[in-house]
Homo-oligomer: 211 residues x 2
């Protein structure tokens, strides 16, 4: 056959692209490879072009999101845990606003949909656990409730991360989720307490915002 691709080069380019995105430098084919020792062709052998790089970057974003969601561990309060997943989602979006924007930008293909589905599934699991605990009505559809939580989380993340709303608007997450969970059958007072306990969002360069 021939030479085999070096996975380290791929990782290097991906890392560098993410870093350039974070530091607000325009990510162009030439600026990406400048100083790395590799030529522009590397982007084509590893990603098939710039479009492929963006796709890979989206998947890297979902990978990081998944990693952050994994740091949320289950407690006795399943509604708190569900909220904590939402807070972790938010922390991830704020940690890298540009990557988050790229994740949901124009070229949302089937691969990305699968990745998005995987992260949504974690929410579904959390909802089902809460149902098992009797927090939600038995007739509540776990996928639907998870999707609605996602709508709230994405709306908030999208408007705060580089959007028109300030960081302080993250506080809206608590009443929004509490209202949603109460509508699914959870006791309003108890729900509020659980959500306040779980809503801990890390805001870069401004510490931690607690609900």
């Amino acid at each position: 056959m021939a030479r085999s691709k070096d996975p380290a080069v791929r990782a290097l380019l991906l890392e560098r692209a993410a870093h350039m995105l974070r530091t607000r430098q325009p990510v162009t084919l030439r600026s990406l490879v400048d100083g790395t020792g590799v030529s522009t062709m590397a982007v084509y052998t590893y990603f098939g072009g710039m479009d492929g790089l963006w796709t890979a970057l989206r998947q890297e974003g979902f990978r990081r999101l998944a990693a952050r969601l994994d740091t949320v561990d289950a407690t006795a309060d399943s509604v708190r845990d569900l909220t904590a997943l939402g807070a972790a989602y938010m922390s991830n979006a704020l940690a890298d606003p540009d990557i988050y924007r790229v994740m949901f930008d124009a070229g949302f293909d089937l691969e990305d949909a699968a990745a998005a589905d995987a992260t949504l599934h974690r929410l579904v699991d959390a909802v089902e656990r809460a149902k098992g605990d009797g927090r939600f009505r038995p007739d509540v559809d776990a996928v639907e409730l998870a999707t609605r939580s996602w709508v709230i989380g994405h709306g908030l993340a999208s408007l705060v991360a580089g959007g028109p709303l300030p960081d302080a608007a993250l506080a809206h997450g608590v009443p929004l989720l509490a209202a949603l969970f109460a509508s699914a059958g959870d006791d309003p007072v108890r729900s509020r307490r659980s959500v306040e306990a779980g809503w801990v969002v890390e805001v870069p360069e401004s510490g931690v915002l607690v609900g």
Copy 2:
């Protein structure tokens, strides 16, 4: 002085850019002016460059949004009206997904913030009218409740318009808004009825989706 700018040319370029965006043609400087008889310089005299064109396009988007929100007229049911504003917001986003995306994309400057604020203000007014009708608790902050409605609307619009969720997901708007309004003091059953009455979203090429 000298020749005066022709407002018709500005409107023509803006209209054409919006049309190219809707028909998924890439909007480039040259493709924009091709066939219009004007030269590439027109974009610079009228908008100061492509960035200026995007800013103008964002404002055009907010203008259209405002126009659509104006078609919602007040009825005796103020919560229905508030929901109808949300539905109109959604219809606008789905009618021109690409313009909607541009509106909330990267270059969100102060002008855009003002435009966004103006549209948010209509929601605030509607919330205050509902408070006057005794539908919401007196201690409810109108701006906050309006912002939370916006978070739901934007999250849904963003995930449906070109995003991972299908058009059918628009139906989530009803339970989400109903839950939010109920948490603000509105009677749950009555709220549900009002929201179902107001949630009428126009989906292009697939008719009208009623809650």
